[in-house]
């Protein structure tokens, strides 16, 4: 059903259609609208689930951890400081291979305190052992949320769905919501083989010494690699039902002749698309959006970069003292690839700074540099967002 929704509302309805049994969360902007909407559904009796309104994100993550271990489909959402407060538990959930879904309404991490969007929070936990999927718009947010529940159930690896805070969570636009019937057809009832059960008592979370720790970690690493196929399959099967495709591991658009590519994460992709369409650059450009940050889709990325001379990695996060986080991972991924493109690192939109259409020419300019650009914050001098100085004609 196509209707106009605020992103958070649409995500909440998608979660509800996946029939979660336990939902736990702690309020933090800009995630709040999602959890409020879910609470409303439960309190109105439209959703049969336990809502656990915890005293901290730490407990939110812990509650869904326990619920998943007890064999319940579990969901939580957070952002920014919340994700960092959860960090210890996030590693734990993945290490224990507990299936559950978390929506991260991406937001900057203080200090300075800032409630607006960037990707620093998701980046901070990218090595926790989770699957991390980024959404370019709310339609993808909805579709990816449904897919996430199937992926986590099949892989026993937790899935973090990253949605740009405010820019998507608070964006009101027309969205195709799946029908309950479609979701039920796609998503089997939740089961968990290692469920806590007195009838079959197991010990979960044992102490593992040097003699076996490596093997357990290797198991997780290998299974995350293998999860790529499951992520692609989940997207394909969902497309078979809804006709909507989220790009599997990553999206790419643009002519084969293009020598310049721009790779980004999340909602900037739409702005770049619009910019290319409305302000055609002198040379063709290939636009790419990485959907799957973890596991990192090395093969897909190399495939998408074939024929490029320059690749600009545009990202909304930074590793102070090491440049762009994604840019560095891309460089590593392309290392040793025959005719690998030059990789330019571009950082923008930190702490919610508006990324206007005018970003495109700046990027193209960047790629013209004689030497590859290691890392540059491209919107340092950008026009500040409203309030701004008046220009009355």
């Amino acid at each position: 059903m196509r209707a106009a929704f605020e992103g958070s509302q649409a995500i909440a309805r998608a979660v509800a259609m996946c029939r979660p049994e336990v939902i736990a969360a702690y309020p933090i902007t800009p995630q709040t609208h999602i959890v409020e909407a879910l609470a409303r559904l439960v309190y109105d009796g439209e959703l049969e689930a336990e809502i656990v309104s915890v005293e901290s994100e730490f407990s939110a993550a812990s509650v869904v951890l326990g619920a998943a271990a007890a064999g319940a489909r579990a969901y939580t959402a957070s952002a920014s400081q919340g994700i960092l407060l959860m960090a210890e538990v996030l590693y734990n959930i993945a290490g224990m291979r507990l299936p559950l879904v978390l929506t991260c309404a991406n937001r900057a991490v203080s200090a300075p305190i800032n409630i607006w969007n960037d990707h620093q929070d998701a980046m901070a936990v990218r090595d926790a052992g989770w699957i991390q999927l980024f959404c370019t718009d709310n339609q993808e947010a909805v579709d990816t949320t449904v897919q996430a529940f199937r992926i986590t159930q099949r892989t026993e690896i937790p899935v973090m769905v990253c949605v740009d805070g405010f820019i998507l969570t608070h964006l009101f636009e027309p969205i195709d919501l799946p029908s309950q019937e479609e979701v039920d057809r796609y998503l089997p009832p939740f089961t968990f083989a290692r469920r806590l059960d007195p009838a079959r008592p197991l010990t979960l979370g044992a102490l593992v010494g040097p003699g076996h720790y490596t093997e357990v970690r290797a198991e997780l690493a290998a299974d995350l690699e293998a999860a790529k196929a499951e992520i692609v399959a989940a997207d394909r099967d969902w497309a078979d039902i809804t006709g909507r495709f989220c790009g599997g591991l990553m999206r790419a658009q643009g002519p084969h002749s293009a020598r310049l590519g721009i790779l980004t994460l999340g909602s900037i992709y739409g702005t770049l698309q619009e910019a290319v369409a409305t302000r055609p650059p002198p040379e063709p450009v290939r636009l790419m959006a990485l959907r799957c940050l973890r596991p990192f889709p090395v093969e897909a990325l190399r495939e998408a970069c074939r024929g490029l001379c320059d690749l600009i990695v545009l990202e909304r996060a930074i590793a102070p003292g090491a440049g762009g986080i994604l840019a560095n991972e891309v460089r590593a991924a392309l290392y040793g690839m025959p005719d690998a493109p030059r990789v330019h690192g571009a950082v923008c939109g930190l702490g919610g700074r508006d990324v206007p259409l005018e970003i495109l020419p700046r990027l193209i300019e960047l790629a013209r540099a004689a030497e590859p650009v290691w890392s540059e914050i491209v919107d340092l001098q950008a026009t500040p967002p409203v309030p701004m100085e008046g220009r009355v004609r």
Partner: protein, 193 residues
């Protein structure tokens, strides 16, 4: 594409106005996008929201810097330079003002592009609350003919309980009768809508 910026104060239903505008556009068969200038503002502070309408999917997520239309829910906001900032050369302004006749357009804006309306008074009469947003929307749709008023009515019903929706619809209709229908039609045509 038509880009609209709505200025108001926290608590005046600024975001709701933006969402309603986009929802009405959607109901009228257009693609509508709305989002607030996400702030940490509290009640009373100046706030802005953005709306885009087009006949195709709108992909950009950036803010509206050069609006084709401004909806100003509180005339005192006109004192702040950013309120009128970036208005397109042929852009229009709809202002809520108690004494509409007394309010002159600033230099550089032709009277034809300037309409003041006692929306709060209308709201107090119809909605029985001093929330001018739906009255302003009614007037805006009448002036631009962007979508029929019925589309706004559907959007109102989707968002509010029956009675509230009806009262707001009354406000919109009352306001629409106070303005010259289609006065700004040319702007809308010029934006391909």
């Amino acid at each position: 594409m038509l880009e609209i910026r709505i200025h108001g104060r926290g608590g005046q239903g600024n975001v709701v106005a933006a969402y309603l505008l986009a929802a009405a556009a959607f109901e009228g068969g257009l693609y509508g996008q709305a989002f607030p200038a996400f702030g940490a503002e509290r009640r009373g502070a100046p706030v802005a929201a953005f709306v885009r309408c087009a006949r195709r999917v709108i992909r950009q997520r950036c803010q509206v810097r050069t609006p084709d239309a401004l909806i100003v829910q509180d005339p005192t906001l006109l004192a702040a330079p950013e309120t009128l900032a970036g208005l397109a050369p042929d852009g229009v302004v709809l202002v809520n003002a108690g004494h509409a006749e007394a309010l002159e357009p600033p230099p550089g804006i032709a009277p034809s592009r300037w309409i003041a309306l006692p929306a709060t008074a209308i709201a107090e009469k119809t909605v029985r609350r001093p929330i001018p947003n739906t009255a302003l929307l009614g007037a805006f749709f009448a002036l631009t003919g962007l979508v029929p008023l019925e589309a706004l009515a559907r959007a109102l019903r989707a968002r509010f309980p029956e009675a509230t929706a009806a009262r707001n619809r009354a406000a919109a209709e009352e306001a629409s009768r106070r303005v010259k229908g289609g006065a700004w039609r040319r702007l809308v045509d010029a934006r391909g809508l």
